[in-house]
Symmetry: C2
Subunit: 263 residues, 2 copies
């Protein structure tokens, strides 16, 4: 179990040069403010796959901007079942959400090797209260998270197994295209996809067994295939239809840029 503080330190890099800044917390912040933010930043860190970034109910030492890699946010129940709350991709801001006890409401584990920028928690609060642009941006990102969570709630309660699988595959596909271009292969309509069937099940409330059956069915129908940590979309229109996908509530969009709502 490797925690944030045990992760090896790296040379800090300027946030303004971060390639994910368009979707990140500090996008839209002016250069002179960025310099000030840089002073808040403590360290850039790198974690291997399948490590804990922070534990459920642990005291929040840092909040993080994810630069590269996949991170799963999850919560475990008393009965041992686990719910994936969000798959964090490059540009996402992690660990800011606390419960009434001041501890993390959920845990975070890396699904791949990941690079993050850590901010001491109290400095994040300071940053937010002193820099309106950051508060506004964080607000925007939170509102987007709510939309995505609402969509997951609908997915979980109002759709059958096949539609659920279709939905999360398609959503993840679009999010990766926007937030992690290096994981996207435009020629094949494919993305790198490190989620096991067990994880997929924990995202939408199905057993790994039933996830497998649905993936088989979608493959048999020539809609998508999911093999070897690779998700390939064969019939996007059909998939959109099956998933009843709503493009208006997709992942965060960088403000000021007018982007096709689908990407």
């Amino acid at each position: 179990m490797v925690t944030a503080t045990q992760a090896r330190l790296r040379n800090p890099v300027d946030c303004e040069h971060c390639r994910v800044r368009d979707q990140a917390l500090f996008c839209g912040v002016r250069p002179e403010q960025l310099r000030e933010i840089a002073r808040y930043r403590e360290q850039q860190m790198r974690l291997r796959a399948h490590r804990q970034l922070f534990q459920e109910k642990s005291r929040p030492l840092h909040a993080y901007t994810l630069f590269q890699g996949w991170v799963a946010l999850y919560k475990t129940l008393d009965n041992g079942k686990r719910q994936i709350l969000k798959i964090a991709l490059p540009g996402d801001f992690l660990g800011f959400q606390l419960g009434n006890d001041g501890l993390h409401t959920h845990g975070a584990e890396t699904l791949t090797q990941a690079t993050l920028c850590a901010f001491p928690f109290d400095k994040v609060l300071e940053m937010v209260s002193k820099q309106p642009a950051i508060a506004t941006r964080l607000c925007e990102m939170s509102v987007r998270d709510i939309s995505m969570c609402h969509e997951h709630l609908i997915c979980a309660t109002k759709k059958d197994a096949r539609e659920k699988i279709a939905h999360i595959c398609l959503e993840t596909y679009y999010r990766v295209r926007r937030q992690s271009p290096e994981d996207y292969d435009p020629k094949r309509n494919a993305i790198f996809f490190p989620l096991t069937q067990e994880y997929l099940g924990d995202m939408v409330g199905l057993t790994n067994v039933h996830v497998n059956r649905m993936l088989k069915k979608l493959a048999a129908d020539r809609v998508l295939t999911c093999h070897n940590r690779r998700l390939t979309i064969h019939n996007e229109e059909r998939l959109i239809h099956i998933a009843q996908f709503d493009f208006n509530t997709l992942a965060p969009i960088s403000p000021g840029r007018n982007i096709d709502a689908r990407f």
Copy 2:
């Protein structure tokens, strides 16, 4: 169908005298700023029960602070099914969440008579960008909403029907105690409860028929009764256990006040 603009106007009241300010957007904002906020406020309005405050996919003219009454936020699917995203109670801020198309992602309808304060949407944006305290507060409220939504997601996917009903009844009970004291009867451990079994089903993904069966079972077990727009908790400890309730992710807490996490 009565919309915001058709609602009859009332004499504005000062937000700083609003009795729900402890949980509301403007709590923690200093008096001189409140005066400025008051200038942004357009109107106080009152709606009867079962009216649309705003429609799904409509253009957002206002955002609202709910002063009094219950409002359901919902989203309808292509197949006609409906998901309740949140039951808004006094102090909640509504209508701020937009999709990529700039339109409301969900609809809002009153469950009871309701009193609201309407802010022109563009002025809300102005307010947020100019007043760091408000941006921070909105951020805080959004993060709380995410927590609650996460909890609903867990409830929907990882709990059986009885646990689901137990969960939403208990959560609503606590939220009403904090946000709408006049709907709370401490002597009987009871609250005013305008939700029909159909609404309960739409909140957690059950049919009204099955909701009814579970309510019957919980009543037979002497845990709670739900009759005549009144929810009574008979065995709180047992209910907490059944629902596997997590007090850390409960409704917004007013900052600066140190409150028992349970209320």
